[in-house]
């Protein structure tokens, strides 16, 4: 089953939030999901310790550059979707994880700084495609977006699309429920109500459907 790598060398771009929302939604939709926590900050591990994990989800911690490929290979089997949450730095761990990806998702806030640093992940994917002589599908998702898009947001989106970057629609909006998931653990169906829960669930589900569509299109 596919390996989805969440990669951006920019810290605070929303990688772990994206990984958890995607993992919990895919598991809710019926997939067995293995999440690899490769971030030294152990965000996924902290989330997983808050409350019992939702059904069909497993979290593995303390994955480093020497074990990442072996861990992905072991879990990349029929019946599993592997989601790799990476550290927010430019490291060999990131390039090795990308080498095993069926889809690379780069979360970025719609700011010039995030786009500039996040673009390095896209350049790396292109370099690895050439070096490994295989297509590595990759997409960008805007995170923490507002209901009303700023000029900067629109400008960056236009620029990325103009460069042929696959931009996932919908973006992941800034929502109380998305940040509260780290406080309570579990998923958007188990945490106490935080703001517009129906909107948060719809947003996460629509985003995950887009990922699923990309995975099945490419296979």
């Amino acid at each position: 089953m596919p390996t989805i790598v969440i990669a951006s060398p920019k810290g605070g771009a929303g990688k772990s939030t994206t990984a958890i929302l995607l993992g919990t939604e895919l598991a809710h939709a019926g997939a067995e999901v293995v999440m690899l926590d490769c971030d030294p900050n152990r965000s996924l591990t902290l989330w997983s310790s808050r409350s019992p994990l939702p059904p069909r989800i497993d979290v593995l911690s303390d994955i480093d550059e020497s074990s990442i490929i072996r861990q992905i290979k072991t879990r990349d089997i029929d019946g599993n979707i592997v989601i790799v949450d990476l550290e927010g730095v430019a490291s060999r761990l990131v390039s090795r994880a990308i080498s095993q990806a069926d889809l690379v998702v780069t979360p970025m806030r719609a700011t010039t700084l995030d786009a500039t640093i996040g673009a390095r992940a896209l350049q790396l994917v292109a370099e690895e495609e050439e070096a490994l002589d295989r297509n590595i599908p990759h997409s960008v998702v805007f995170t923490m977006t507002k209901a009303v898009k700023s000029k900067q947001h629109k400008g960056i989106a236009t620029s990325l699309i103009g460069q042929g970057v696959d931009l996932i629609d919908p973006p992941l909006m800034e929502r109380a429920a998305f940040s509260a998931i780290f406080e309570f653990g579990g998923d958007l169906r188990s945490i106490p109500p935080q703001g517009n829960m129906a909107g948060a669930r719809d947003n996460a589900r629509a985003f995950s459907e887009q990922i699923y569509r990309r995975l099945t299109e490419e296979s």
Binding site: M1, P2, T3, P9, L26, H28, A29, G30, A31, D64, E65, S66, I69, R70, K73, D76, I77, D78, G79, I81, V89, A90, S91, R92, L93, V94, S95, R96, I98, S99, Q100, D102, R120, Q123, L124, E127, E128, E130, A131, L132, R134, R189, M197, A198, R201, D202, R205, S208, E209, Y212, L215, T216, S219
Partner: protein, 98 residues
């Protein structure tokens, strides 16, 4: 709360794909990463022998032949002389407790 519009995954559509994990491929991936500054950042493990937990010290002068015998026995077993002293101390204590 019920899920208004759940989507279901067709597991049959998601296939495991073979990806090369040979050392050659890993090396090519590493080189590609290095071109863009994605370099090794894992903390290096400290080299060499780990420090001994034996930080206590005794000041014992013994007869030369006893010193030779202790030294030879420690070499034979591949342990520090302090280990023999610890064992002797354990024996001494157990004999006192009887």
């Amino acid at each position: 709360m019920a899920d208004e519009s759940p989507f279901r995954i067709d597991l049959g559509k998601l296939r495991s794909r073979n990806k090369d994990t040979s050392p050659k491929t890993v090396s090519r991936s590493d080189s590609a990463g290095e071109k863009h500054g994605f370099v090794e950042r894992a903390p290096r493990k400290k080299r060499g022998r780990k420090p001994s937990p034996r930080t206590g010290q005794v000041h014992a002068k013994v007869l030369p032949d006893v010193a030779r015998e202790i030294s030879n026995e420690a070499k034979r077993r591949g342990v520090q002389q302090g280990v023999l002293i610890e064992e002797a101390w354990t024996l001494y204590r157990s004999s006192r407790e009887k």
